[in-house]
Symmetry: C2
Subunit: 147 residues, 2 copies
């Protein structure tokens, strides 16, 4: 049971953009800051754009920036979009299930309740909360000291 | 983000044993009932034995049975043992982390809170609760109707 790297990268991309609000960020910058390959980041960037979390500005001087205010980006919502929750356990997905107990077993209801509680925690936090202490984060990302 | 098959199998093994309390169960029986390969079940059976959830009776007429009462087996505890939770996100594990934000980022605290809430739900349910309606479950597993 682990978060996908994809979700992890999506959250890091959003944090990077929130920490650099006044510029168009290049995927290359994010790649360098985190040591993640550009190819891995591009897929997440595209999906975040489709979901409205990022705005893509094309062209030679283009880049990405947040498509919503950090206060409006709820961590739980992002993770719901980037994780395939109907794959959490095979009985969540009729077409992939192999267990003969599907429909009469209480485990699927229990796991659904567990996930609901998990996301209720994540829904308490926005992207703005994640970057509410920018100096410490920026010094790690850019090696800069922010006054 | 998905439960490992290993945990899924461990829970199914425990349910099978709880549903057949008066006999020594063979792994082969569980394999046939669920359509899971014996090899996949054996690893989980061994760990469940080490944890005291199962008792192994050796020999030609041997088999497995619950090592504790179903009321004493809490689903959350089983899943905590079978899932590698320090792998949930890379920053949970210093030795595997690659993110430069480790230690100053709030995400790891948030995911830990989410997992705590997830397990709080699973801790509300015991193996006895999972098999509190044996007739419906047994008819699927054994094709039997229980009076």
């Amino acid at each position: 049971m682990r978060l996908t790297s994809y979700t992890n990268y999506a959250l890091r991309i959003l944090m990077y953009c929130a920490l650099h609000p006044d510029k168009l960020v290049r995927v290359q910058d994010i790649s360098q800051a985190y040591g993640i390959s550009r190819a891995h980041l591009l897929k997440a960037t595209r999906q975040l754009g489709q979901l409205g979390y990022l705005e893509n500005v094309r062209g030679r001087t283009g880049g990405i920036r947040l498509g919503k205010s950090p206060e409006a980006i709820i961590v739980g919502d992002v993770v719901r979009h980037t994780e395939e929750l109907d794959e959490f356990v095979e009985c969540f997905n009729d077409s992939k299930n192999t267990c003969p107990l599907i429909g009469v077993c209480k485990l699927s209801v229990l796991f659904a309740a567990g996930l609901k509680a998990f996301f209720a925690e994540l829904d308490k936090v926005t992207l703005a909360d994640l970057v509410s202490h920018p100096a410490a984060l920026l010094s790690r990302l850019d090696g800069e000291t922010v006054e």
